[in-house]
Homo-oligomer: 362 residues x 4
């Protein structure tokens, strides 16, 4: 359904061309001094129209906070936030009313629900992620203030271009300095050119987002089913366009032997650490204090300008060439979304772990 | 926590060396004629000691059904099943009492809970999956009888050996005919030899399981967060030793352009289908009627006979060489587990979709 | 938390004096032609300022629908609705900033969260029920259109005045014709006078709401924990000011013997019915097709004009006399709320029962 | 479904005449030294055959613990417990195979599921509560050891006989000293005689259980829907035979005015208390530190020896006179069950409140 999380819980709502999109955040700890500009900052990182590498659809995407905050502090009650849909142009989509766009959700929504909002993706639009980003911005503040945890995501790969990035040292400034949000200054310009070429070619590209969470407390993750890696995987695979998730050594690690792959423990001045991090920061589904590192595969944007074979809702073969506004490569806007979902998962697990603390109530 | 699913819901319990392991299946539709031998068949596929390629630990793993069934039929009430732990040898593990085994869950469980069952992995043992397999065997019966849905999983890759398998035609018989459960008869013997070599070398191997679900009804999956791909990812990443999940084109698809990647729709005698299946059978997180195809990465078994650097619970550096019984490669026993979790996810989603049927009650 | 329901699920948010109050309805069946005026009708029944028997606080309470509906029909996606807080007068509450009002939630919220919105009850305000009423209005439409189920609630008792009402024949028109929403025309004027006397006396009254659901399908309710009576009890006891719930014979039935209390079955032209309805329409926690009949006790409004002993947040004894706007008796506005929660519970259970239908997918 | 609780979560299973009944307790805090004899003590209080006032069905009801405990301490993993059904006599029930017993769940289970275990109530049997009692015994230990919270339930009323009991001073010893578990020594013998008369008369009686929880931490309860009173109401109304729940002043309080009913705050040596406790220990759905006091109505046992009118499964009118073993009054065995569910609710809320503690992880 449209709710995610057990103790820190978000419920998102909204279609791309309805009145608004939004989120209700339940379970936010009380007395948190909430920085609304930090929420807007994340929404701005996600919003369309940032450059010619993203969709030209212009949306202010200004967040409104409707509840849960009093005199700048969280009340412990649900926080409701919304963003109005201002630049919706349903007329752009009229020609799609009866057509199933290839690799979009038109066909499956119609089959599942017997109805769909054909104006630009409806609930399946990436615009749905606005609520996630706003909620994630709150989660980030909790993690940063209470645990000094930092979460960063960036473009690791676009099409066939892959960038080396040091997960220990990469910074937000480096990521944001790149128009494609790839912190490797050698590869970033090539990626930008590759995306622009795809745009000119009326085609689209996919790629890989890598995320790192640093300074994560030891002990987060709730076996058996709510292991940290499982919750992260669900969070990422619930995003539009994602096709894969891997943590630590991932698929590449399957070609190593156990003796090559195991992460040896050692004692670093009283703190138990591992020499390598093939585990990606979790063992037995629980954080071990090393960096959480994972990757998410995004398919190339389904909306392209090139002509495509498809069928209409009556089953007739038709040719389709998109004329709406769209991104040639969604990865540029994806880091804020991946960071948000990571923060939501970690905050939820943090609260769940705190519940185990047996200190008597004051 | 230890419960998975929304309407078809399993709760597993048990440590590897406690009294028993088991599962409670809640939400099973009533009046299903339950084939207990089919449950046992799946447990036998999972159990250790099947050949020299698996751990020599011998467990009968005979399922007992304690509730929820009356005169051979399900009552709609919870089905409780258990398997006793008979061949536990805690003495095998005494030398591990104070040691953190590399890439095992010893350290993280100790940190999270302040206590752990050091006898063979405890709750983090793969023995925990017995409950999943028993529950999944029931889910398989529901899917087969009510929707004619078939689920198969098999070894796609061991170490650097990869097998071509046709997802449209592969059969259970082909899978079970291979001692490593790779249905490709050319690669299967090489894999067997590779595993045996690792065993002799006191080392271990990882690999990839591929799964296909055929004849899945259109419309399964519950956006936004409980998309089919998200639930499958969570299910797989909740398993021990899994490091990655990808569906359809997965990570490989990120090097294609949109025009190459999109799955064109066409009308096949009244049924709308796609020419390719890069989507892996889901679009917008909802099944589209094509085969569901996904892959799961398993790391090499953490338990190896080779000497390894690690620390004990006091933080002292120690050298560890495992002497317990273990698998050189868990993938041989993994297909039953992957199939089970797939069946549980699909059954849960099937029931959720049925709830949308607005036909008045009789 | 702030979410209720398993398949038909509502999430409410909002404080009495924040920007707005609202609800997200998740799991609403698709393709329902939604009558927004029916939603507004229910909100109008709940809103303050209807007569001198309710609080003079004037609120338009006009619902805005932000998502989930397209061309007048539900999409199956979350339906977000809100009502702006327009007539909030925080200055009315300034004198309460440091005072714990007796039998209000001021003290417990402060202790639980370490912070509270002291402007008029915050989240504990009855204004929170707006979201429930809006969601319940949708549930009512589902039940009425798909199952012909009718739900009515009315004032059964005010203070010491009790009204006889025939649960088989009472109508909405009869309820709404009474300014106190008691459909018994003999007792209604006495109740109105009793409430007005309490108002003049700067005091308040409590009472009992009775609800009946007619034409409920047989088979609703999910043992063991989600029995129909249990879900109804939770729904009612989650409302502000409720102190008790009883179904069927309730507490009064405890003075009967089994032979007096048992509801004999008989065959009424092919339909199995009971001669009496001491069970209140459920047996084993499952609806049996008879009327669901239950009662809810509401305490007298905690806010009164009379001087009261209390303490401030520093623990100093103070005397308090309310000067804000308030209801001398909340029961007059409660029927819409009780009906709403009843409809939400029944719709949720209806969808859960439908999921058991084993008809193959089309 | 068959799971209750959010962080401290129980899943019960089992029919009265299947192989066993049991429970899985998930979320139990780790490192708790578990007293199994205390669990057995509670089961003994609940078990049949304690005296001629209860059913003569003899069951040892010895609990077996199958997981979650290691060297006497909880692991933080699921605790599985079961009790075998030993004295089941299905032949006693053969004559009921085709008959719907009045005010039992036979008819509704058959309608809901299309199948039922006709051997003695199946899942609707009070035997289902064994799992609750075992789980509740663990919850009691948590509350007692970590918060010094004490929970007691006792018979307040049988048929028309009501006992005065001081909720501040009543003890377990007083309750257990009475064969009917009424701690008032004046009324207890009358109640015993009344029950015995009903037994001789082949009839049955109902009554009221009162429960008190003392020394409950301030701040438990999770608005809006999971208020403490709401969770308690659900827990109690999920029990077999319960018809009503009231907290504090309950239904009786509806005849008071606000000025009579409000609980004045005062400062008792630094602790804020209330002069009266009409609120029953919760305000705004959150515990305020006063005693939690509530009452639960139980209908007279549906199984009676007297002849009754009913129908069979074919709709034919038949006369029924029970010959199976049964209780003339279930209230005698109910205190252990009510205490268990109270403890489960409080423990769950305690853990949820702890999650709000913002102290950084160590």
């Amino acid at each position: 359904m449209n709710t995610f999380g057990h103790l820190f819980r978000i419920t998102t709502w909204g279609e791309s061309h309805g009145g608004a999109v939004g989120v209700v955040v339940d379970g936010c700890p009380p007395q948190l001094a909430l920085d609304i500009s930090a929420i807007q900052f994340e929404l701005d990182r996600r919003k369309p129209g940032q450059s010619h590498l993203t969709t030209p659809r212009q949306e202010g995407d200004v967040v409104e906070m409707l509840s849960g905050v009093f005199e700048g502090k969280t009340l412990g009650t649900p926080i409701s936030m919304l963003v109005w849909n201002k630049n919706a142009r349903p007329s752009d989509y009229k020609h799609l009313k009866d057509v199933y766009r290839p690799s979009h959700a038109d066909f499956t929504y119609q089959q599942k629900y017997g109805i769909r909002n054909w104006q630009g993706g409806g609930r399946a639009s990436a615009r749905e992620t606005i609520g996630r980003v706003a909620a994630g911005a709150i989660a980030k503040q909790i993690l940063r203030e209470q645990e000094d945890t930092e979460i960063l995501a960036y473009v690791k790969q676009i099409h066939t271009l892959t960038a080396e990035v040091d997960t220990n040292t990469v910074t937000l400034a480096q990521i944001e300095a790149s128009p494609v949000r790839c912190p490797n200054p050698d590869v970033s310009p090539q990626m930008a050119e590759r995306i622009d070429a795809a745009r000119r070619d009326r085609d689209s590209l996919g790629g890989v987002i890598e995320a790192v969470a640093r300074n994560v407390p030891v002990g987060l993750g709730e076996p058996i089913f709510d292991k940290l890696k499982a919750e992260l995987a669900k969070a990422m695979m619930s995003l539009p366009a994602t096709m894969g998730f891997q943590i630590g050594s991932g698929f590449g690690g399957t070609t190593l032997t156990g003796s090559e792959h195991n992460d040896a423990f050692y004692n670093e001045e009283g703190r138990i650490r591992t020499r390598t991090n093939n585990s990606g920061g979790t063992q037995g589904g629980i954080s071990n204090g090393e960096n959480i590192v994972f990757q998410v595969a995004f398919k190339p944007t389904a909306t392209i300008g090139k002509a495509q074979e498809t069928v209409d809702i009556h089953g007739n073969a038709v040719e389709l060439a998109a004329s709406g506004r769209h991104d040639p490569c969604v990865l540029v806007r994806a880091p804020a979304i991946v960071e948000a979902m990571t923060a939501i998962v970690l905050t939820d697990q943090l609260l769940r772990q705190r519940a185990k603390n047996a200190a008597p109530s004051p």
